[in-house]
């Protein structure tokens, strides 16, 4: 080990000397691409010591800290201790099962599961009174737990099996992984291997090379299940399980103590340490390619990292020990300011160079861009022997560098000899002070050079003139701004004022604009994407695509930032990045969308130089600016449109939080809210809180919602995550909400919904209606009975008419609300009812009069008969 350390120290000394030397010749190390977000009391997070971080399938981030358990949805940090008294201890371990449940382990022992928003003990503290160091779920969905020094526990379908292994009782265990039928446990005396056989754990051996080491973290590589990363107090090791070979990863500082290991989807390990902050380890084929350090010396929050976690969207979460929770944001863009740092202006062209380096053609010479071995921050080195030249364009082939200048024609640069050699394009014209606009190599290795005012020179790979294209020999223009040799061997030419021309192999030159085929006149640059489509940027007409048959135009009407497009580049997934003076546009053919980026705080320098763009070997796109370069951090960000699940988090009454369990009779609690909510008629002011989890940019989500039974359409697009409805009538409603990353792209089938009922008041219940009708019938009946007995005709008439009025008024009052949609606020119905009443009164009066007269006549006859009898 000591010889390894000696070699490591020698290497570090060498790199230090290289850095010192580079600083002496005017170089600059650019800052890295991340910003950090610290979660503290300002963000409702009071945890200082972070023990565990995990994300569930819904996207919620669960954080176990010294201040208890938190759940984060991108907007709200919810302290669950306050809501649930079952959580009353530090949570030191967590994991997600294959069916999405969260399991929690506690500092004083015990394991719980979070189900339907509630916590249920699976193993009590009394059964397992020892700190839970780690929880993992294996491929068979069996939950394994590791205690600090009382062995392991296995939970399958709520059945708990304890493994009290004497060897583990002598040690302090820190972490474990399950790899097939083996379990590896890191301890304070090395990494132990166990075999799982017939439900038993059989100690096998210590992993060779780890005996006596304090091992703190284990991680099974995502791509290679035989590769185990071991974090110890003596550095990071990679262990090949099948060959049992172990190797120290070089490049880490002395005395580094690894605490946690995680990995993102881009082959990068994230290594937390107890004393040297966070280390980003870029891997290629399992080997370390670059290391980037995040520590207090570079402005990071803390050197003491307890837990590192990479979430579903490759965001890195860092739980520190003493400084809380940090979210590492990789910026979409990064601007490297070169004017103030190495006195360089005007980056007119960029080119890939060697394996992973760049060359910049600037007004102040040639700049070399690279990173130190095993470090990924960029170094910018100006070649001092080139500072007398203002370069305009570059073409690089291996170590052969062709450069165009502002007033010295074409040169070839020999870096080894530190010489700049003039190239004479035309042997007949040795005095050349041309401005060179473009240089390109075609697929056969020939060289094409555009010289201002002199058209295009076609040279052999050795530099001998093959042909010159200018207006004297029929070419369409002498000012060619862009030359592009495509993959089929065609040569495209773009000029200002005369547009596009094409030279196909073995054919005559075609002047596409002149012939009316291509409509734009001012061409800035030409590129070709992965599918072979040609993209042409113009000054004033946007950008065109050409699929071999048809041209399609994209302008500001389609969403482009500007119709003046200076440069364009295709990224590795076929999206087109377009540089403007005002910012950058992104054409996403997959979604038929265009995104724009133009905020200075996002981009730094917004202005893109003409035809100044390159894509490096990793897929990052660099745009040249007047005072530096802007890097688009690809492939980390492809800006996909992701369908996310929207969660309806809460329902509030009159803006107040309420216990929703009062409004449901369900025992089961689904997801976050109870089901079958039923409110009283007075509780008809409802606010719905919802969220779609985007931990990286929670404010970048758009929402639309609707209330079936109330709204006719979806609401307007908004970023607010709350909706309020007031004075809802009794009835059953369904609230729906959907989300999107982009306001022009919606998935109408992906929405969250919840159904609820507002009960009618008693006076609108069926039984009350029945009671009313019964009452009215009773009134009519009483009227009928009394009218037969009353002697006074006036009283009889009064009773009948009052009953009629009561009946009509009741009908009018009950029916009118239902007709409001027809009548609005006009008193049509009331007038109609009164008219009907009046019409009814006449026949009633006729009948009543007839009845009373008949009754009176009968009485008289009876009285007369009685008189006659008595007489």
């Amino acid at each position: 080990m000591s010889s390894t350390r000696t070699r490591a120290m020698t290497k570090r000394l060498f790199y230090f000397l290289v850095l010192m030397a580079s600083l002496a010749v005017g170089s600059f190390a650019g800052p890295r691409d991340f910003t950090t977000v610290l979660y503290n009391a300002d963000r409702d997070f009071n945890g200082v010591f972070i023990y565990t971080i995990v994300q569930d399938d819904d996207g919620f981030l669960w954080i176990g800290s010294d201040d208890g358990l938190y759940r984060f949805d991108g907007k709200e940090m919810l302290n669950l201790n306050k809501k649930d008294s079952a959580i009353n201890s530090l949570i030191t371990a967590s994991t997600i099962s294959n069916d999405g449940h969260v399991y929690l382990g506690y500092i004083q022992g015990g394991i719980s599961i979070v189900e339907h928003g509630r916590y249920r003990k699976i193993v009590s503290r009394e059964e397992l009174p020892n700190r839970i160091e780690a929880l993992k779920v294996d491929d068979a969905d069996i939950l394994w737990g590791l205690t600090r020094n009382q062995g392991m526990v296995r939970i399958e379908n709520d059945s708990v099996t304890r493994y009290q292994l004497p060897i583990l009782e002598e040690l302090i265990s820190t972490d474990f992984i399950v790899a097939g039928n083996k379990i590896f446990v890191s301890t304070n005396q090395g990494v132990l291997e166990f075999r799982i056989k017939d439900g038993e754990l059989i100690p096998s051996q210590f992993v060779g090379g780890t005996i006596g080491f304090q091992a703190n973290a284990l991680y099974l590589d995502k791509d290679d299940k035989n590769l185990l990363w071991i974090g110890t107090n003596d550095g990071l090791f990679r262990y090949q399980i099948n060959t049992q070979k172990i190797k120290l990863v070089e490049g880490f500082p002395d005395h580094v103590r690894i605490s946690s290991i995680s990995e993102d989807d881009l082959n990068t390990l994230w290594v937390g340490t107890f004393n040297h902050g966070l280390v980003e380890v870029d891997l290629i084929d399992g080997e370390v390619d670059a290391l980037t350090y995040f520590n207090t010396a570079s402005g990071f929050e803390s050197n003491e990292i307890g837990e590192v976690y990479v979430d579903n969207e490759n965001e890195v979460w860092v739980g520190t020990f003493g400084r809380g929770l940090v979210q590492l944001n990789r910026a979409y863009f990064h601007h490297y300011e070169l004017y103030r740092t190495i006195n360089v202006e005007g980056v007119h062209s960029l080119s890939n160079f060697r394996d992973d380096e760049l060359l910049l053609a600037t007004d102040n010479g040639l700049v070399h861009v690279y990173h130190k071995p095993q470090r990924d921050s960029l170094i910018f080195d100006k070649y001092q022997f080139t500072t007398d030249y203002s370069f305009t364009c570059l073409a690089v082939r291996g170590e052969e560098i062709w450069a165009g200048t502002k007033n010295k024609g074409v040169v070839k640069i020999d870096l080894e000899a530190e010489k700049v050699k003039r190239v004479f394009l035309d042997p007949l014209d040795p005095v050349q002070r041309h401005l060179i606009r473009d240089i390109q190599f075609d697929i056969e290795g020939n060289i094409w050079v555009s010289a201002a005012g002199n058209g295009v020179y076609h040279l052999s790979p050795e530099g001998e003139l093959l042909k010159q294209y200018n207006t004297r020999n029929g070419f369409y223009h002498n000012e060619i701004f862009s030359i592009f040799p495509d993959r089929a061997g065609n040569i495209w030419f773009g000029s200002h004022a005369t547009g596009l021309a094409l030279l196909q192999p073995g054919e005559e030159m075609k002047f596409l604009t002149k012939d009316g085929i291509f409509p734009a006149f001012d061409i800035n640059s030409i590129i070709q994407d992965n599918l072979g489509i040609i993209w042409i940027t113009t000054a004033g007409s946007g950008i065109y695509s050409f699929d071999g048959e048809n041209f399609k135009q994209y302008t500001v009407d389609e969403g482009l930032l500007s119709n003046y497009c200076n440069a364009a580049m295709v990224d590795n997934i076929g999206q087109i990045w377009v540089g403007h003076r005002l910012g950058i546009s992104l054409i996403q053919p997959e979604y038929d969308l265009i995104r724009i980026f133009n905020h200075p705080s996002e981009l730094g320098e917004t202005e893109s130089e003409l035809n100044s763009v390159v894509k490096d070997v990793h897929g990052n796109v660099f745009f040249g600016n007047p005072y530096g370069i802007t890097k688009v951090n690809l492939p980390h960000f492809n800006f996909p449109i992701i369908d996310r699940e929207t969660h309806i988090k809460d329902v509030r009454l009159f803006f107040n939080d309420v216990d929703l369990l009062r409004f449901t009779s369900s025992d089961k609690i689904d997801n976050i809210l109870p089901a079958d909510l039923t409110f009283e008629h007075g509780d008809n002011h409802l606010s719905f809180d919802f969220v779609s989890i985007n931990l990286r940019k929670p404010d970048a989500i758009y929402y639309q919602y609707t209330l079936d039974g109330y709204d006719r359409t979806w609401s307007r697009i908004d970023k607010a995550n709350s909706a309020t409805y007031t004075n809802l009538d009794p009835g059953t409603y369904t609230f729906k909400v959907k989300e999107s990353d982009h306001p022009d792209h919606w998935n109408d089938t992906n929405y969250a919904s919840m159904t609820f009922t507002i009960k009618p008041p008693y006076w609108r219940t069926w039984w009350f209606y029945l009671l009313q009708i019964t009452g009215i019938l009773l009134v009519l009946y009483i009227t009928f009975i009394l009218s037969a007995r009353l002697k006074s005709q006036f009283a009889t008439r009064l009773m009948v008419y009052v009953s009629l009025f009561i009946l009509f008024e009741y009908v009018h009052t009950e029916v009118e609300p239902y007709l409001e949609s027809f009548t609005g606020e006009t008193p049509i119905f009331q007038v109609g009812t009164n008219l009907l009443l009046a019409l009814v009164l006449l026949p009633v009066e006729i009948r009543l009069s007839s009845y009373l007269k008949t009754r009176a006549t009968r009485k008289e006859k009876i009285a007369a008969a009685m008189n006659k009898i008595s007489n």
Partner: protein
């Protein structure tokens, strides 16, 4: 162990700045633990040393417990034949760390390893740790045992001689930093039985600072294997170097001393004065009248005692009239 509020206030007013154990106050060079196979006559009666560290309740940052020269071999340690000794350092926290009765005993018996084991490492003859600091941690202060009587949280470090017969000389530091000694303000360290190396030079004085709380009426000092190499004196606010019984080779020396009211809730200075230049390791502990061990604090609580002279200036002695 009970402390009055006054004592605790004094304790924090002075702000124990030095968390090196042994501290500058004690003038002791190293702590000593011998291997399990060593003879008691070399100065260690039980091959175990238990130290407690108190982190103030108000301190919420990570702490580290650092051990200087934890290996057994090389520059500082005491050889007996070849270097064949192993000493295990273990850090404990959580419930029972100090509150368990066995934790406060002078002998490593019963449940003296109470609490939750937080970290542990076995050291042998390892050159890379020789004359170097080894760091345990970081620890969340909340992982220590809550001790309201000390207004802080307690961690325990046990150094055990596992094998061999060599002597391990080492020091501790409670630090806020991993790679440097930066003190935790307001912290302190204490032990119930001190096993240490005396300064070598003749007339040099080592100090031990037990804190006498208010229900102590007498103390009994016990020292082991001093080899009669000097004198042991008790110095306090009321005792001006009262002589205590020193011990012979492989023997215990014991003497009882009454405690008056003025000495209660103060620190007493047990001074060990070398009578000749020599290398000597010894063990000390003090008990109260209940035979309960009294803690020695690395930073004297309330500061080192100052003897208060009493001169009668008010009344003339009648015999001399």
């Amino acid at each position: 162990m009970k402390y009055s509020l006054t004592a605790l206030l004094i304790f924090f007013t002075l702000g124990s700045k030095a968390q090196l154990v042994p501290s500058e106050f004690e003038q002791i060079t190293h702590l000593v633990t011998f291997g399990a196979e060593s003879k008691p006559g070399w100065g260690d009666d039980d091959h175990t040393q238990v130290f407690f560290f108190v982190v103030p309740e108000s301190f919420t940052k990570p702490v580290y417990i650092r051990v200087f020269d934890p290996d057994i071999g090389g520059k500082h340690d005491e050889p007996n034949g070849s270097w064949d000794t192993g000493v295990k350092f273990s850090v404990y926290g959580g419930q029972g760390t100090h509150s368990d009765p066995d934790a406060k005993k002078i002998d490593p018996i019963g449940n003296y390893k109470s609490g939750t084991l937080l970290a542990s490492k076995l050291f042998q003859a390892e050159a890379r740790y020789d004359d170097q600091w080894y760091t345990f941690g970081p620890f969340n202060p909340m992982e220590g045992e809550e001790a309201p009587e000390l207004n802080g949280r307690v961690f325990k470090v046990i150094a055990e001689g596992i094998a061999g017969n060599d002597g391990n000389l080492y020091k501790y530091f409670l630090s806020t930093k991993d790679q440097e000694n930066k003190e935790v303000e307001g912290a302190n360290a204490f032990t119930y039985e001190y096993s240490f190396r005396l300064p070598e030079v003749k007339n040099s004085v080592a100090h031990l600072y037990p804190f006498i709380d208010d229900d102590v009426i007498s103390i009994t000092q016990h020292n082991f294997d001093f080899d009669f190499e000097g004198s042991i004196l008790i110095y306090s606010i009321a005792k001006n170097r009262h002589r205590a019984t020193a011990s012979a080779n492989r023997q215990w020396g014991t003497s009882k001393h009454p405690i008056i009211d003025e000495e209660k809730n103060t620190t007493v200075d047990l001074q060990i004065v070398k009578g000749r230049t020599s290398r000597n390791d010894m063990v000390c502990y003090i008990t109260n009248q209940y035979d309960e061990a009294i803690a020695f604090f690395s930073v004297p609580v309330g500061g080192p005692p100052k003897f208060k002279y009493k001169v009668n200036v008010k009344y003339k002695d009648k015999g001399n009239d």
